[in-house]
Amino acid sequence: MRLIWLLPLIPAAGAAVNGLAGVRWFGRAAAGAVACLAMLSAFAVALTASIALIRLPPEARAYDVTLGPWLPPIPLATAHGIGSFAAEWAFRLDPLATVMILVVTGIGLLIHVYATAYMMDEPRGGYARFFCYLNLFCAFMLLLVLASNFLVMFIGWEGVGLCSYLLIGYWYEKGSAATAGRKAFITNRIGDWGFLLGVFGVFHVFGTLDFHAVAQAVSSLPIEQSHFGELSIICLLLFIGATGKSAQIPLFVWLPDAMEGPTPVSALIHAATMVTAGVYMVGRNAVLFQHAPLVLAIIAIVGTLTALMAATIGLVQNDIKRVLAYSTVSQLGYMFLAAGVGAFAASTFHLLTHAFFKALLFLGSGAVIHAMAGEQDMQRMGGLRRFLPVTFVTMMIGALAIAGIPPLAGFFSKDEILLQAFSKNRALWALGSVTALMTAFYMFRLVALTFYGVYRGPSWPRHVPPAVGGPATLSIATAHGVRHPVDPDAHGLAHVPQHDLSHGPAHPVPIGPAAHAHEWHGPHEAPSAMTWPLMALAVGAIVCGFISIPPALGGTNALERFLEPSFGGTPAAATVEHARQPRADAEPATADQASNGREWALMLLAVTLAGAGVAAAWRLYVTRPEIPVRLAARWPGLHSLLWHKYFVDEFYGATLVRSTFASARGLWTFDARVVDGAVNGSGWMTRTVSWFSGIFDRVVVDGLVNFVGWSADEGSLVVRRGQTGLLQNYLLLIVLGVCVFLTVYLFAR
């Protein structure tokens, strides 16, 4: 546990090795081994530290490590006199951080292993570069979760943003990937702006940046029940940061585009870890947020709306990764909903389970894309369960987990959130439940389109006679190898829900940056380096829900109890978060039973909704595949709205981006006309003045100097005649001088 400061350093060292030496000299196996080894040792350290922490008694479960000073103390004005602005390299391991480091290192390790196989078609240097970025990302993420003050967290916060940018734009030759990277970075920057302002606010109000000190200071302040005071402003600003990082309204637009990155990146960063940084940050400052109930309400509403909106968009998307991306946004919305109603532990629980099954789903989709040689459009898949049995089973587990079918992980965490929402606000609960229904629906739509039905993808030479497209065109079309995510707008409005087979070979296949080394022989199961992580994650998705079984089902809510110290033991937390807690101890049995009954009812409802979603998806996409077409035709406006993601991108483009461009152009014009004009004018003036001074220099100054030289020259011609070189002539002059002297003496005596 004393070695937790090593946690960020190990992957950073891996990144350094791969980045400095690996890009040039390492083979694929060496680069992958370095990265995986770094993650493995980090996981081992994390596991050791976690076990050591769990062994401690609950109230002592916090461990601080201060490596050394970073910024020396600077006196700085705060709201309450002069504070001392100091920052230290301080890390803190508490239950919340424990959960996070286990998620980051554990799932990170699996994804690293997966990526060694998935990225096999990359060139050697690019392969090492990819693992360098991945390791660097893990280093920053661990720094973020282990930080014990805002500034160190901010380093991690910015670092993961940077790595996200690097990884989304990993295929930087491809314009859309580079654009998506920029979009992610800039959107994150907007959030970071809010986060940084929030940090400034924290220092202004509390005079310190240490999480623990802030939590203690805020405990003594009154809760801002009805007015919007300084705590609320700070929390709102911090939440803006969280929306940027965790892709909430209004800053969620970058996450779907982030699917331009390689699939392991999507799994690691944009599903399991980085996007949860916002949720983590809110949970880390739980005490602070609990003192701003208005902001908590805003968080709950934003989370719910995000969950609902992303789920509706996810209903109609055809790109397999994009569906998962919107699903991620939606699940993150759930987490914020939980945080907003004060159930930080439930939020973290869902974060944990979501990390498992969303990583599983993304990796599974990666396996599917791998099998389809880069195809991502679910319209062109179908029936793949015959070819990809392992992927099919594991993805099915993931889908069941996210849909909330008991006894898989998602059921417990989602149920927990909905229960907490129900006890707080019925409207939020209702919207959340609708979202849960839609989640089940779109997930099983994905499964149905991908694994069931008839195969709709391109044919391959060995099995299909060349009647359809001809082997020549076919091999050209498919030998281009892994197709990387393409902008769905390329499909555009011309998209039709049903493609026929002849569409396949004629469909333009974009050239991926990495070509498959071998010719594509139809969908095939992924190599074992990819399937093993899938199976491991599937096991996780099944069992990780059991670590926090609610009391209504006979459990003890172990995880929530474990996390309790991290969220502070304030009265607000006790009443809001642990509404059930007193009952678990020693409450009257009637209230217990009534509450249990309500909980049972809610669970039943949730399961029913999930089942309904599954059934609807099954009916619409397996048994009666023509219904969706008709539905889309009947409500073209609604479909178009969803298909275009509520036109949010277009709205931002038309308002923010265009106005930014316009003002930039205005500034450019100003720069070109006024600033450049002033600079050029002063340059012209300088030139003219220097021309005059040059004339002056030549005529007057040089003239003077030359005159001095000339006069010395001429004068010396005269004087040198006196220098005969004859010793006695000089002596004559001496005697003459003596003579004159004596004469003067004689007469002036």
Binding site: V719, R720, R721, G722, Q723, T724, G725, L726, L727, Q728, L731, L732, V735
Partner: protein
């Protein structure tokens, strides 16, 4: 026959005359050895002066200075004659008129 007593004025006059003879020698002769000898004459003129005043004031300070003058004269003669030899080796002459390297 009556003579006025010999006062320091007499010695000063003798010294001045001897000095003038040395100056004339330096001015007129072209043999550099003779030039040096004329310089020795001037040294002697100075020494006579010093000794005369030492006698006047009945103190040996003037004689001490004369001793120093003699020492300097010896050094001058040694170095000067060394220069003459070196010059002679180069130019095969002792004529001061041919030593005009400082001519402007």
């Amino acid at each position: 026959m009556h003579f006025t007593p010999i006062t320091p004025y007499h010695y000063l006059l003798l010294s001045a005359a001897l000095f003038s003879v040395g100056v004339i020698g330096v001015m007129v002769r072209r043999n550099i050895i003779i030039l040096f000898m004329s310089i020795e004459l001037m040294f002697n003129a100075v020494n006579i002066n010093l000794v005369a005043f030492a006698a006047l004031y009945r103190h040996e300070v003037g004689q001490a200075f004369a001793v120093f003058v003699i020492a300097v004269a010896a050094a001058e003669a040694a170095v000067g004659l060394g220069i003459i030899l070196a010059f002679y080796r180069n130019k095969e002459t002792l004529n001061i008129d041919e030593m005009n390297l400082m001519k402007g």
